[in-house]
Symmetry: C5
Subunit: 309 residues, 5 copies
């Protein structure tokens, strides 16, 4: 496989990583319809843990079968498929080498008591990732939670071990809990903070939600307004997140959120592209519809990213 | 032993497992009167921990002797006998190789303070399982408990170690504690969720209680009703649980619950069979009666399973 | 030493244990005036931790010297002497090989805050037991305490390690804390439950208090009454405890409790003997009196046990 | 590199350290414009974690790029650059060997719930420090916090490991939390206590805030007044901190605090110099302004230190 | 060095210890003006942690320098100098082999929140003790604290490791916290209990405060009064502590407490001597005065001990 200049330039930003880790990052960046462009569309399916099986798959019952999800990622030409251990084990041999896999290392669920501060359970190990042939580990952080420091230490330990065996880390950084308001979870200042801390913790790819123009913290609001940081449009906000990710030295992708109209999804992708983001993670909007529809939708998103790459 | 096509097909679903783990799974599936059919009846005796000795054995005093329980599993032609370490150690040499053993790794008891969130103590290790010749480990999860994440991490660690030495994992997934109501413990949505998480955590055999048609969580209720998921009959509910277990890629068995009339037990078995479930775990309904009666009852249940297998 | 048939039969019940562990069990069972009878009288001295030095030894000041206690066990012909590490270290060299030692692994004290749930501190290791030449480890469990699951896990870890180097485990199982009433601590149902759980956890010798005919838990009361379990006399209650200890497959000894009249102690011994129990642990009633008196008292108890063995 | 007499004398105070640790201490002391004088100016950038990206870098956007900060430290002739792992990894290869690096091992953030007692998360390991070529580890202590004992144990473990591989430790000792008032955080008695405990814990370089003449603890106040400890001027207070650092046997530097007028910064430097302190750590006052300005400011501070060294 | 008969007899009481541990105990017992007498005066300086630098050293500023304290111990002819790691590291090379060192392994401080139950942080390891050439480890226990069981487990782990490399353990046993009243901290019953538990935990040298005739616990009071334990004079109380220390099989020394008149100190020493105690630990009364005065004071105390030894 000839690595493109665009991807080589991205890899060069990971200057402290060993060749094994860069090689796996390259495999993800060179895969699928966006292979070599420096943009990515990743298929994530951890809703089984997050919301349970019926809320995840009843709308499109073939998706109850773990093989369906591997096949969807492959057919759509995604850069990688991310899921918890049990779901990957159920197809990793059949699809060995077929598409890059991101093993989700921790998981939460909605049966958990509501008055507990948010956290997740570790449900996989780096050895599991190697054993099933995964190309990266995935981990969710909850900045703002009373458990955040514990999660951060857990993440560091996993990244340290993963990097030593050539596996990069994808970090979902989702503020919640503690003093953070519902609006604050996607506030510009909080979202940029969450992305920045993931970079400081050593994430290779950061995943955050698309931010709103709300500013949550007073001390931050003063700075955004005083320094006239432009955050009026979605693409400006994406650009600020990119800035917070070491001024573009770290890859950052954005989640599509809940099910919504296709045009909304395409608008998001255009804003991510125009703001300099590196792509999307599209879960429920892809696997909760008929596969042909899903492949078509993901194809349109990929075309948007290719448009200016 | 010639492995049947039915069992070979089941083993193929465990595509990420090593041959040692599949071999022990095969030993359980090929044992007893249901050997080779893909159906199972397992004898579990952890009531000594759960309810104490008198509530477990006073109704049938010979059962105070651990040897009695091995002999019952053997005489009845069960696929396996599951119990805590002390009880297995007391007969493992006498019955070495006689029938597959599932070593129960954690245990709860009813002397525990009622206002504590439910959890269990680890009372055995994978090394213990190997030392006494067990063919699988067993573990109880409590989805919904404030301790669930800790239990999940503990389970993952045990499964990882067990699989590395060729032992599959049987996971009892029993929702309780936290925000879950008494009815919610066997609600359709919660039970399917519990079964699904056990699969995501890497269980080889899942054990849940038979579900009712109650729906506990509002967000789930909306989906079950909106997508018209059929849950009106017990066999439909069993079929939904099978769907939640990776669309049948993971074995799932159901508990008989407290002592009840024999006809009720047979009806349950027929519903499990018709819904595509893989069998029953029958404890109190077997060891709390005279052995001849118990062997006869279990034989009738096995006949029901054989009927269409 | 020629092992008696009685002891050989007892050893055979420990069918999963290695020869080293059985050998140490045999040393205890073959020692002293009851050697070979299958009955035991053990001298336990952990009151220094439990009640402090003056409450333990001021009544008989020579007992402040650790050597005195070894000598007492030896002179009285006890099967073993049980004590915390510091006390054993102070005489283990002088009395090396003279009589079997049980190293008490955890300890509580009465300076501890009263409103804390009961637990104990680990004050010795299996390596310590080997280093000082002990023949068994001792451990106290508190069924009912909020810390019980932690204690149970700790015990399992110690037993696992001890057995691997040939040391059996003596488990003091003393219900207290949590929802258990003062009367419940020695209630028939609770005491049998405590003994049974020690067996399930892998104890080689169980030690419980002599039970009363009180029944603490409603669910248990229903069974004892419904099944007409005989618990009216002390020897019936002892017999029920023996039943709860795997129907006699595990050794069980009973504590003498606080200082009381000698006749009361002899009556207890007769009830233990007649109920099929394996002996007594006699602490304060022996070391808090003049040594000659103590030797005489213990001799009378041993005669009671020998009477029908 | 010929080590100056001044630096040799300082190194001799670290009499229990191995040559590797002294060599790295020497590299820091011999670097930059103050190299060899025994004085230091260190560039610390952990505000990304502490305050988030915008509050740290919006005032001078080039600083969003981690390379900018390495270059600033280099251009200004600082003795070392201190930052969290992610930020150092992003430039450690490009700037390999160019200037001494202090890897900050723990980090706090302002999204954390306000009502939690202050602590930090471990975000790097000693192996990380070696891997990226750092010359020292950095760690923040919070004396007074309910978590202080945990932090102290964590620090000791890190120092033990760091020293064994030749890395000295820089300890930020910042009283806060628990019973300490806002004024108490920089009170003379508390600040000296914080510096002293860092030395007792084995810090090679201590970093505290410049103290005020407030006395927080009554028992201390009595001694300061009774013994007439001179603390009226800033240089007297610095001299007392030096005394608390083993009478000058340990290096101590002072933080500049929040953004303030340049003359205030220079006054601080003169007081540190006159009191016998070993230098400054200047963060926000340097990287939140144009680089040329920052280099000029840091140069003036260095001239002040050189003036009498 | 020819070990005296007196010291040989003491060493024989440590019958379970290896020669390395006895050799270091001998080094302490054979050192200084009391060398060979079986009596000891130890210089302890952990007030820097306990009370902060000014409250410790402002009264005698040369003591801010760690070397001063080594020199004081040496000049006064003490048996050993005890201090935290940082303070010992600052002089261990200069004074290598000059006098026995006791490395204090845990430390508390008075900035800690007042409403926390008392405990200490581990601030050194057994490897540190070996690395700096210490001859023993020191550890503080707080009997009565809610953290006591944790401290006891920590102590056991440290003693186990220390003894395995030939280092004896000096245990400061200071009751406080939980249900213990202020008067109870030095009550006869509580102090004897604290000394006894240190012995049970394996301490080689116990250090307690001189007891008052107050009796704290009702159950103990009944015994002291019922058995007429003589505790009316200080020497009687010391004798009772010696009795609680395995009837003299373990060394026990007493602290001088806060600064007080010299005659009071001498009276204490006489009572310790007459009661059969093994000596004093003298901190604030020695290093908070001019060195010549301190050497003279310590000399007088040593003369008192020599008087009848």
């Amino acid at each position: 496989m000839r690595i493109t200049q665009k991807v080589k330039k991205i890899l060069a930003n990971y200057e402290s990583d060993n060749p094994g880790t860069k090689a796996n990052l390259a495999r993800i960046l060179m895969e699928g319809k966006l292979g070599g462009t420096g943009k990515m569309v990743i298929l994530p399916v951890d809703q089984g843990f997050e919301h349970g099986p019926a809320r995840s798959f009843a709308a499109n019952p073939p998706a109850y079968d773990p093989h369906y999800l591997f096949q969807l990622g492959l057919d759509a030409g995604c850069n990688a498929y991310a899921a918890p251990l049990g779901a990957l084990e159920a197809g990793a041999d059949t699809y060995a080498g077929a598409l890059p896999l991101i093993l989700k290392m921790n998981s939460a669920n909605s049966l958990h008591p509501k008055d507990e501060e948010p956290t997740q359970a570790i449900t996989a190990s780096v050895d599991d990732a190697l054993r099933i042939g995964a190309n990266a580990i995935g981990y969710t952080l909850y900045p703002g939670s009373a458990y955040f420091y514990d999660m951060l230490e857990e993440l560091r330990e996993l990244i340290r071990e993963a990097k030593s065996v050539g596996l990069p880390a994808v970090v979902w950084s989702y503020p919640r809990g503690g003093d953070i308001s519902k609006d604050g979870e996607t506030a510009m200042d909080v979202d940029a903070y969450a992305a920045h801390m993931a970079c400081l913790a050593g994430a290779h790819i950061v995943k955050v939600k698309l931010p709103t123009d709300h500013l949550e913290q007073d001390a931050a609001k003063k700075v955004y307004e005083g320094e006239n940081v432009p955050i009026g449009t979605m693409s400006e906000r994406v650009a600020h997140i990119v800035q917070a990710c070491f001024k573009g030295r770290r890859l950052v992708v954005f989640s599509g959120g809940g099910k919504k109209g296709d045009e909304g999804i395409f608008d998001d992708a255009r804003a991510i592209r125009d703001g300099g983001g590196n792509g999307s993670i599209i879960g429920r909007n892809s696997f909760q519809r008929d596969k042909d529809d899903a492949v078509k939708l993901l194809g349109t998103i990929m075309d948007i990213y290719k448009d200016k790459s």
